[in-house]
C-alpha cells in the first residue's frame, strides 16, 4: 500500500508540474505582455521597455517559467497587476471563503445524497423511489447557473427570506454570515446530489439482496439494525469514492455559483482576473484549483484501492 501511495503521489506531483507549464504557457500566447497590461495601452514604448527589463520579460520563456515556478514554491506568488497586492494573501482569503461554501455543500451532499439513496433503495420500485430518481435526474440536467436563478427567484425575490447575493464575514454576526451562505450552498447541493444518491441506491439494492443480509434478517434482527449496521457499511464503499470526486467537481461549480451570488471566493477571483486581464492572479488561482482537484482525485483513488485489493496491485492504474 505504501508503495502504491508513493507512486500515486509522485504522479500527482508530475501532473501538477505539467499543469503549471500549461498555465504558464498562456502568457506566451497573449498578444500583450504583463508590462503592457500594467502600464496601459498609451504608455510610451521606452517606459514599457524599462518595465519589461525590470520584470525580466525579455528573458527566454523557460527562464521566466523557472523563475515563476521557483517563486511559487518559495511562497512568493507575485503581485496582482490589477489590485497591486501580493497574490498570496489575496488567494488565501478567497480559498478560505470558498472552503466555507464547498465544505458546507459537501457535508449536505453527503448526508442528503446518502439519505435519499437509502430511502430509494428501501422503497425500490415504488413511487417514492421514482420521485427521487426523477428529482435527482433534474438536478443534473439543469445547469448550475439556472439553479441559481431559480433559487434567487424563489428564496430572495419571491419569499424575501435571504439576501440575493454578497458575503458578510463571520465577525458581522453568525446569522448574517449564514444567511449569505445558504443560497449558494443550496445551488451547489441541488446540482451535485444525483451522483451520490444514485450510486448509494444501486449499491444498497445490491447489498440488500446479498446472502448475509438475508442471514441477518433470519437471525431476527430488527430491520433498522440490518439496514444501518449490516447493509449500509458495505453499500457505502463505492459512495465514498464518488464523494471524493464530487469534492473536485465542486471546485468547478464554484466558478459559476460564486459569480452569480457575488460571493468573493476563488471562483469569482478567477472570473474577475480574466475579465480584467490580471494574468498573474489567474495563473496562481488555476494552479491552486488544479492542486485541490488533483488531491481530491488522488483521495478517491486511494479510498478505492483501500477497499478494493484488485486495484491496489494492478500495474497501470493511471
Amino acid at each position: 500500500m505504501t508503495g502504491y501511495i508513493a507512486r500515486r503521489l509522485l504522479f500527482v506531483v508530475l501532473v501538477l508540474v505539467a499543469v503549471s507549464m500549461l498555465v504558464f504557457s498562456i502568457t506566451a500566447l497573449l498578444p500583450a505582455n504583463v508590462a503592457h497590461l500594467i502600464l496601459g495601452p498609451f504608455a510610451p514604448p521606452e517606459q514599457v521597455r524599462a518595465l519589461e527589463l525590470k520584470l525580466g520579460l525579455t528573458d527566454p520563456i523557460w527562464l521566466q517559467y523557472v523563475r515563476w515556478a521557483g517563486g511559487f514554491l518559495s511562497g512568493n506568488l507575485g503581485e496582482s497587476t490589477l489590485m497591486n497586492r501580493p497574490i498570496g494573501p489575496l488567494l488565501m482569503e478567497a480559498i478560505g471563503r470558498s472552503m466555507m461554501l464547498t465544505g458546507a455543500s459537501f457535508v449536505l451532499i453527503a448526508v442528503i445524497g446518502i439519505g435519499l439513496g437509502i430511502i430509494a433503495a428501501l422503497r425500490h420500485g415504488g413511487p417514492l423511489d421514482h420521485g427521487i430518481s426523477v428529482g435527482t435526474y433534474l438536478g443534473i440536467a439543469v445547469p448550475e447557473f439556472f439553479w441559481a436563478i431559480i433559487v434567487i427567484i424563489v428564496v430572495a425575490a419571491w419569499l424575501g427570506w435571504l439576501p440575493a447575493s454578497g458575503y458578510e464575514p463571520l465577525s458581522a454576526g453568525f446569522t448574517v454570515w449564514a444567511k449569505h451562505l445558504i443560497a449558494p450552498t443550496m445551488t451547489l447541493v441541488f446540482g451535485h446530489l444525483a451522483h451520490v444518491s444514485r450510486l448509494t441506491r444501486s449499491s444498497m439494492i445490491e447489498v440488500l439482496q446479498s446472502p448475509y443480509v438475508t442471514a441477518a434478517r433470519a437471525k431476527g434482527l430488527p430491520e433498522r439494525v440490518v439496514v444501518m449496521h449490516h447493509a449500509l457499511r458495505n453499500a457505502l464503499l463505492p459512495t465514498i469514492t464518488v464523494l471524493a470526486l464530487d469534492f473536485g467537481r465542486l471546485m468547478g461549480g464554484i466558478v459559476v455559483v460564486e459569480t452569480i451570488f457575488a460571493y468573493p471566493g476563488l471562483g469569482r477571483l478567477i472570473v474577475f482576473s480574466i475579465q480584467n486581464r490580471d494574468l498573474p492572479t489567474l495563473q496562481a488561482a488555476i494552479l491552486v484549483v488544479a492542486a485541490i482537484y488533483a488531491l481530491a482525485n488522488l483521495l478517491a483513488d486511494l479510498l478505492y484501492a483501500r477497499f478494493n485489493p484488485k486495484i491496489r496491485f494492478g500495474r497501470n492504474v493511471g
Binding site: 505539467a18 472570473v271 488544479a290
Partner: protein
C-alpha cells in the same frame, strides 16, 4: 467476417464501464423503449423548432422597441418581452440554433481529435499509449470549466471560439473511451487476420477497428453533446461566449439576471428550454446505449 465468434473476456477495464465492444452484427429488432421514444420526440422537436426558427418565430428576434419593454407573457407575446422590448419566444427559437450548433460542433471537435488519439494509444500501446494518456491526464487535472476559462482568457470572446474551447476540453474522455474500445478490439481474430495479411497500420485502424468501434462512440458522443451545451452556455453566461445582441441561451439568462424580480420570465424561458434539451438528449443517449448493449445499465452521468 468472423463477427459472431464468442468474444474473449474483457481485456481492458475502463473507467467508462465499457467492458466489451459490441461488434456490429444484425441487430435484433426490438421495440423501442419508452425512454428512447420520449428522448427522440423531445430532441426531435427541439431540433425541428431550431431549424425552422426564422420562419416560425412570431416576431423579429432583434428589433428593439421601447414601447413593449417588460411585457409579461400574453396572447401576442407568449413568453413576454425583455428589457429592450424584444419577443422572448422568438429569441428563444433563434437561440436554439446557437445552442445546438455549439454543442454539436464542439463534440465534433472532440471526436475528430480524440478518436485518432485513442485508436493510436490502444493499438500501438507502449510509449505512444503512455505519452497520449499521460497528456490526457494532465488536461483532466483541471476542472473542465477552468480549462475552458484558461483557453478563452487569451482571446476576445466569440461563440465559435467557445465551441472550439469546449471541444478541446472534452478531448481526453473521448480519447480514453476510444482507447478502451480499441484495446478490446485489437485482440479480435479479424484484426489478427488483417495483420497476417500484412495490411498497413492505417488500414487496420481506420478500416477494421474504427467501423467496429463506432456504436459505443456514437452513443457517448450524443451524451457528450449535453455536456458541451451545458459547459458552453456556462461560459457564455460568464461572458466568454456569445456576445450581445446574440440570443444564445446562456447569454439570455445572464442578461436577464438584473431583472429577475420584475421580469422573471426572461430568464426562465431559456432555462427551461435548456433543461428540456438536456433531458431529451440524455434519454435518447441512455436509451440508445441500452438498446445497443442491454447489459450496460444507465449510468450516473458525470459532468
Amino acid at each position: 467476417m468472423p463477427a459472431s465468434t464468442p468474444r474473449s473476456g474483457s481485456v481492458a477495464m475502463s473507467v467508462d464501464q465499457i467492458t466489451e465492444a459490441p461488434v456490429i452484427e444484425a441487430a435484433p429488432r426490438r421495440p423501442m423503449s419508452l425512454q428512447l421514444k420520449v428522448g427522440l420526440v423531445i430532441t426531435g422537436s427541439i431540433v425541428l423548432l431550431g431549424l425552422l426558427a426564422p420562419w416560425i418565430a412570431p416576431h423579429p428576434w432583434d428589433t428593439i422597441s421601447m414601447r413593449t419593454r417588460f411585457v409579461p407573457p400574453n396572447a401576442t407575446y407568449w413568453f413576454g418581452t425583455d428589457e429592450y422590448g424584444r419577443d422572448v419566444l422568438s429569441r428563444l427559437l433563434m437561440g436554439t440554433r446557437l445552442s445546438l450548433a455549439m454543442g454539436v460542433s464542439a463534440t465534433l471537435v472532440s471526436l475528430a481529435v480524440g478518436i485518432p488519439m485513442g485508436l493510436a494509444a490502444g493499438y500501438f500501446r507502449g510509449w505512444v499509449d503512455e505519452v497520449l494518456m499521460r497528456l490526457a491526464d494532465v488536461f483532466m487535472a483541471i476542472p473542465p470549466i477552468m480549462l475552458g476559462l484558461l483557453v478563452l482568457a487569451v482571446t476576445p470572446p466569440a461563440l465559435w471560439k467557445t465551441a472550439l474551447a469546449v471541444g478541446f476540453v472534452y478531448i481526453p474522455p473521448i480519447a480514453r473511451l476510444a482507447r478502451s474500445v480499441t484495446l478490446t478490439l485489437a485482440n479480435e481474430e479479424f484484426i489478427q487476420a488483417a495483420k497476417a495479411r500484412a495490411e498497413t497500420n492505417s488500414y487496420i485502424l481506420f478500416r477494421e477497428i474504427l467501423p467496429n468501434a463506432w456504436p459505443p462512440l456514437i452513443v457517448e458522443a450524443s451524451l457528450r453533446v449535453t455536456y458541451a451545451i451545458l459547459l458552453g452556455s456556462a461560459l457564455s453566461f460568464l461572458g466568454l461566449g456569445a456576445q450581445p445582441p446574440s440570443s444564445d441561451w446562456g447569454l439570455m439568462i445572464s442578461e436577464a439576471r438584473a431583472f429577475i424580480d420584475r421580469a422573471p420570465w426572461i430568464a426562465l424561458a431559456p432555462g427551461f428550454a435548456m433543461c428540456l434539451l438536456v433531458i431529451g438528449i440524455n434519454l435518447l443517449g441512455d436509451g440508445a446505449r441500452e438498446r445497443l448493449d442491454p447489459r450496460l445499465k444507465s449510468r450516473v452521468t458525470e459532468r
